[in-house]
Symmetry: C2
């Protein structure tokens, strides 16, 4: 006969008696596996056993029957527990009591809660009282058990609720003039037990079960049943939890925090979750069971205060708790969040799990545990991680928190929330409302210390001056990759977009939210990492990392936070395999990005080179020109200016490649849409206003995103491509002459067919080669293309015959692959996220399942046609950790992202190389 | 030793002497292969030989060296020609003269032209005169030869041109007072030869070559060289001609049409290219060489007049020509276009090729040759084709010409062209200009005989009433799949779009073109098959096919054109393997489509069900509603109306499947954009105008094509999906009750993720199943999706887990795969077609290389996940023959197209099944 399948696993009383460990999460659930793990480490865990998820699966699919052997195994493990504990379940003299808890492989709300004190009945409660000498504890435990068993186990089928019991308790308290639960005496509680049993009978139509085994099996069945309860099923559906067998059931010997003043219960973090300081933090209640801490009935004390309790046992318990927490942290190699109970001076650990902590705390823990020193005090610490292990514990979001000014947490908590939008540019922003970009610019020109928040429906390239001048940007429309969001992130500027609760009135210069109206000059504060906007001013702290890296401030270079950043940063370069470039359009951005570790520019947009200052007038002249000669005349004005721009960038990126994208936006972005602007344009360019208006109208497109832009402009106006190529190559030759290395990579945007690229590449090469020849330069350049149009990915083999490099424009690719306009996605994205139709905003985290196929396909096809084709990505996803890992996997040579995300991309690349 | 490669192929003097045939096009070029083919058929072809394209390829790639053996072979074939002709090249007494012509596998402008009369020199011209007895012919041939050799052979390297010679001739004519070339005497022409030789010497710096072999090889080299001449290379680049070896060279014994009044030359068609009548048509000139016919120096006569010439040889020659043409038509099984020469009464065939003809002529020829009767006279005809062969000779464009009213060709030729746009809806349209759709509707309501052309910048769904009322639609913007174009084609209505030369002024009610201004009420005429718009009225003829099929008119049913259509139509159903459905939104369209042979509805759009009459007010109420209850109340008004619509469609499509697409367009299309309309809406719905204006503003999107539309509406407003499902399923149950078969297929549009489809499919199935259960009906329905978003194609395996069918929306798929907005493509498509960046408008002919990959991928992935998944296509490409063939190839179950394109799709499907 085959060996019977094992369904019930024992834990506690050391490694010898324990049958599971942390690796058995799928079978024992997270809680069961961690309890076993602690028992293996000889930590004081109340013993018990775990009924496996396999048993649950069988039960669910076999009409609520146990699998063969489960019941026998459960009884045998219970016997073992009774033997080791020296007590029997429900024994009339000295009963063993147990808790029963569900616990799936991942934490999952909606399943059955805890049942404590199981095993009590009318007789064993007397034995319990006798053996503990505490009648009050006895009756307190019994009434709690009737309540929990009644509502948790029997509730789902009978409608019995906690409120049914609570009502009776309130009445009793009133009857005896008791204020708090603790004011009730043993006698009161005994009376309450009788009342509870009557309540139970009334709803369940059966007396409260006196047989402990009946109590236990009913509880196990209730846990199993809750796995397929409506709430749990819904939760799994919504959260796409699949592949789990079921829930495990943990049956655990009770320990009592409510056995008087030498007992208590609490929760603790192994270190400061906010600062990362090695000082643990936590709270506890004397003479209480776990649920009291959560319920917030009494105010808990800080664990530092334990040694100050009257009884000396507390000091010992405290020492032991601290020891155990250190041990747990070392064992799990991650800060822990624990639950504990002290029963008459004896410490029991009830649960441990990885702790939540701030980014700063996470980074600090990682670098301190891997370097063996406290970065603040210099004190040695125990080295428990290798650098690669340390890196694995830090997330991009952690690192990001070090780069931006943040609000004083206490002040933010107290601040008055105004509205919420999408967190588009991280950090804190505080300033006075201003509605016009040009006004913002003027104000800051007059007084550079003015703090402003630019509040707009949306922003456009014309607004960049004002956006730069402001502390932050707040828009009422647009998504995470709208103009405002992209520009702000590029600068590391605070930005909240799509705050649809705002009603902006440009004329009246007011913004309404709910029934409040703010006017120009009113102060607001924004948290760009949460999207929350507040009324008034909240104090902020600047980032020492930015002060050190970008501005080279001396005091910042000595700041522990900068040093920690530097350490993480150095490690990432040790492990990562792909290059990280930056998206930068100006020498200033390029310099900041290099300071953050960028190894070249993956995307230099040239649009701003048409906007700034007088340039807009040249491009407007170009747009109005009626023939080639007039257009070339207009472009000739731009040539020296753009050449100057490129010289600056090439100098800043000395020796590194610079990928320059030719003009991309549709021409209508360069002309004024309003009558006044058109009149000004007409006057300045010496034509009738009606001529300007007619041209603007002709430039209007229904779907500009899919319109006359990108390489389509160079095909209609080859002279644009010629001028930009001249500016780039002349700049390259000039900078090369000064002895610097220059590596221009000219990138043609929005290519969908090989023929488009051929057309543009011919112009670029002819123009460039002629200049290089004429200048007798040795400058080398590459001609490549953005892969952003889905068809380009499909035809990548053909396109790579001409393209010397590919750079994935995953923003536009996401727009076109999904058919989502990023300007308009705000209209339905909230619904999509709410209804879990999308797991995340696909403009933030690459849709690897769909859009990722196009990337993968294009890399493979491109390289099949041109061996070793250089492939990179310059969309917003280049700074998103999950996306960066995907890009590493499909074999890109580099990712490129905005300067402030370079450290984050470097971290993600390192983690991917380390298999994390 | 290996056998020497053959480079020179003889033809003429019957099959025994001929070495090539029609199948050797690649090697001998089109001309050489057809000359050999005619020689094989014992037709009177002047003998000669063809130097192969392989020789040309060798010559090009080996620095202008002949391949080994070519020269010897050429000399041997020349000897054979001399032997069989009994004359020697350039012989002083009775010289053999030859022509030299290029000829690649496909016709290709830009290569070397013909050189005639080669072999003449100062001596042989005397022999030629002696042997022919015609001094004038002799000197005429010699001066022509010097001219042609000079400019065609020597011109490219020396700059000598035809004009250099022509100038001298004009001077000579002046000198002798000759009006026409023919007025010059033999003496004049002899003098001219001397002048020509001097001109030649001046430019070439060498005397005119007297050695006939030198003349011949120089000509062969010139032909070879012209293959890589700038013009030919450019032509091949632009037209993407690749894979050809080079050009062949045809050396052909001369025959002379210029040997007096019993000689002549001409061109002819084997039957009437306009009507398809079996009467051949053609033109000839007495006493002329071929170039004279082309040059149009004299007015040619019709070939029917040949028997009337004074000399009796002409009657015989005419009889023989007619016989040969019949024979050629039978031999090539296609109407032919021939060149012939009559030399002193002897007929020679110089060339034959497939003739160009009208659609009507093509269809008539095909059905008559396969049925053996003249459809007009009933006279028997020789059966030379099987039905499948006949089908292969007819194109979709041929068939299309039978379906639309057309202009009287003579009248159209004389009409005054106003402007040109894109030919969006075929046929002829004549009417008075009207600028407002509502005005058009009113006018026609008052007088149904009014003929109107609706002239707009663009049209929108609100305009459909007026579009239907008008004879044709003319827009100044938009592409081939703009709203106007799609709607018009669906109705078979004449439409020209994107006529950007028009300046429309709605206020003034005028349209300007150039310096002419037309006003409302002025007549214009449009040819929807060419896109040309004319001033004034051009007479038209209606299509007997439409009269018979759609309106069942009795006289039309007897019309030969209808009978021919019917014959073709019947044959298509015999061969095609895939189903052809239609895109139809109303019972009327559905009925017309069934008459055209549609087997179901592949796309029933439901948008119009929200627009017509009072409905627009219900959907506007829905849009303004502030909560679910108010929205449901508004939708309740639409339910009975839409149910009625569906009942009508199900009845019309009795027994066939009907695919119904849930609402697709963004909501902003349902609200008025102008202030007056918004005020009316506010008044009618009892709210403030500012409320309407604010809502309209909120609905505005930057890129509505990629906005809140399709299934995204059902996700935000599930109640919309519920209402439409109710209307469909209740209608289905009602119609089923009357004993009809009903097969509703509910299609969710714009799906990009499985989750979107799951969400909608859940609503549809829950709603539908409840109704079916409640009504105790047995109606079956399917739930499927459009595959139009590129991501849907990538994720087709996942989506097919839920979808019971796929229907490819290749319009939107083309938009998103290319990133082309079809509303805006007019801005650059002309550039793209001019510069050959696109081979065709991808909205008309599917881009099989790119978009086709997505279709193919989705079919494969979908069927891998759901065996036998039904796949169809309902984009505009469903009616394009080339696209239909592709869809057959990738294994779709059906194509669906607008009613008037159903016959064309059926033909294409049949041809594909026949391997054509």
């Amino acid at each position: 006969m085959a060996k019977k399948k094992k369904y019930v696993y024992f834990y506690g009383f050391g490694k010898a008696n324990t049958e599971g460990d942390a690796s058995m999460r799928a079978l024992l659930g997270g809680k069961g596996a961690n309890l076993a793990e602690m028992a293996n480490a000889d930590l004081p865990v109340p013993a018990g056993f775990t009924v496996s998820t396999e048993a649950c699966a069988y039960y669910s699919s076999h009409n609520n029957q146990y699998p063969e052997g489960m019941l026998e195994q459960l009884k045998a493990q219970l016997k073992k527990l009774e033997r080791l504990m020296g007590k029997k379940l429900g024994d009339a003299k000295d009963p063993l009591l147990v808790s029963v808890r569900s616990g799936a492989a991942i934490s999952m709300p909606g399943m059955m809660d805890t049942v404590l004190n199981l095993g009590l009945n009318d007789k064993s409660v007397q034995g319990f009282i006798a053996s503990t000498g505490s009648p009050r504890t006895g009756w307190d435990c019994y009434r709690r058990f009737i309540d929990m068993f009644g509502n948790v186990v029997m509730g789902p089928t009978t409608g019995l609720t906690h409120d049914d019991f609570e009502e009776a308790m309130t009445a009793l308290k009133k009857k005896y003039g008791a204020k708090e639960d603790n004011d009730l005496t043993a006698e009161h509680l005994e009376e309450l037990c009788d009342i509870y049993k009557k309540i139970y009978f009334k709803k369940v139509k059966k007396p409260f079960p006196q047989d402990p085994m009946e109590q236990l099996l009913a509880s196990v069945n209730a846990v199993f049943g809750s796995w397929n309860g409506e709430r749990a099923v819904k939760y799994r559906q919504i959260n796409k939890v699949t592949g789990l067998l079921g829930t495990a059931v943990n049956v655990c010997a009770m320990v009592y925090g409510n056995m008087g003043d030498e007992s208590g219960t609490g929760v603790a973090f192994t270190r400061d979750g906010s600062t990362g300081d090695e000082q643990p933090m936590g709270e506890y209640l004397v003479n209480a069971q776990g649920e009291d801490v959560v319920a917030g009935i009494r105010t808990p004390k800080h664990i530092e205060d334990m040694p100050l309790e009257p009884s000396p046992i507390w000091k010992k318990a405290h020492t032991k708790l601290i020891q155990i927490m250190k041990k747990l942290e070392e064992h799990y190699r991650y800060p822990q969040d624990v639950e504990f109970t002290i029963e008459r001076g004896t410490l029991w650990m009830l649960q441990t799990r990885n702790a939540k902590r701030t980014g700063l705390a996470g980074v600090r823990w990682a670098v301190e545990m891997a370097t063996g020193k406290d970065f603040y005090t210099g004190k040695p610490q125990k080295k428990i991680l290798k650098p690669d292990e340390a890196l694995a514990t830090v997330t991009g979001a952690d690192l990001e928190q070090l780069l931006f000014p943040i609000f004083d947490p206490a002040a933010e908590k107290k601040a008055d929330v105004m509205t919420k939008g999408l967190p588009a540019g991280p950090g804190a922003g505080v300033g006075k409302i201003v509605f016009e970009a040009s006004v913002a610019e003027e104000i800051v020109k007059r007084n550079p210390n003015e703090k402003l928040i630019l509040v707009r429906h949306e922003t456009s390239p014309e607004d960049v001056g004002g956006m730069w001048a402001a502390q932050g940007i707040l828009t009422s429309t647009g998504g995470m990759t709208s103009h405002a969001a992209v520009v702000a992130r590029g600068w590391g500027k605070c930005c909240v977009v799509g705050a649809s609760g705002l009603s902006i009135d440009y004329k009246a210069k007011t913004v309404k939210v709910g029934n409040k109206t703010l006017k120009e000059g009113d102060w607001i504060s924004m948290n760009g990492s949460t999207g929350i906007v507040y009324f008034g001013q909240i104090p902020t702290t600047a980032s020492p990392v930015v002060n050190a890296v970008v501005y080279g401030k001396k005091d910042a270079l000595k700041h522990p936070i900068y040093k920690m950043y530097k350490q993480i940063s150095d490690w990432t370069d040790k492990y990562r395999k792909i290059v990280v470039r930056t998206n930068a359009d100006t020498p200033k951005d390029a310099a900041a990005a290099r300071a953050f570790g960028a190894q070249g520019i993956g995307l230099c947009r040239t649009e701003h080179m048409f906007f700034e200052g007088e340039r807009i007038w040249a491009i407007r002249e170009f747009i109005l020109a009626e023939d080639l000669a007039a257009r070339e005349k207009a472009l000739a004005k731009l040539l020296p200016l753009q050449r100057g721009d490129f010289e600056g960038i090439f100098k800043a990126m000395d020796g590194y490649g610079v990928t320059i994208r030719l003009i991309d936006p549709p021409l209508h972005e360069f002309v004024p849409q309003d009558a006044a602007g058109q009149a000004e344009m007409a006057k300045r360019l010496g034509v009738k206003t009606s001529v300007v208006a007619a041209r603007v109208k002709r430039l209007h497109e229904m779907n500009p995103m899919l319109g006359h832009r990108g390489c389509r402009l160079s095909i209609t106006y080859p002279e644009l491509c010629v001028m930009q190529t001249r500016a780039i190559i002349e700049a390259a030759c000039n900078v090369a002459k000064t002895g610097r290395k220059v590596l221009p990579e000219i990138m043609v945007p929005l290519v969908g067919t090989k023929e488009e690229l051929d057309f543009c590449a011919d112009i670029i090469r002819q123009t460039a080669d002629a200049i290089i020849k004429q200048k007798k330069s040795r400058v080398k350049y590459l001609v490549g293309t953005m892969i952003e149009v889905p068809r380009a990915a499909l035809m990548a083999d053909a396109i790579a015959e001409t393209a010397e490099f590919f750079s994935f424009g995953t923003n536009d690719m996401t727009q076109m692959a999904f058919g989502f306009s990023r300007d308009d996605i705000g209209g339905f994205l909230p619904d999509y996220l709410d209804k879990k139709i999308l797991p995340a905003d696909p403009f933030l985290t690459l849709d690897t399942a769909g859009v990722g196929q196009l990337v993968d396909m294009a890399v493979k096809k491109g390289r099949a046609s041109r061996q070793g084709l250089k492939c990179g990505i310059c969309g917003e996803h280049g700074g998103d950790p999950a996306s960066v890992k995907f890009f590493c996997k499909v074999g890109l040579d580099y990712v490129s992202c905005s300067p402030y995300r370079v450290p984050i991309a470097r971290l993600a690349a390192a983690q991917q190389a380390l298999g994390k």
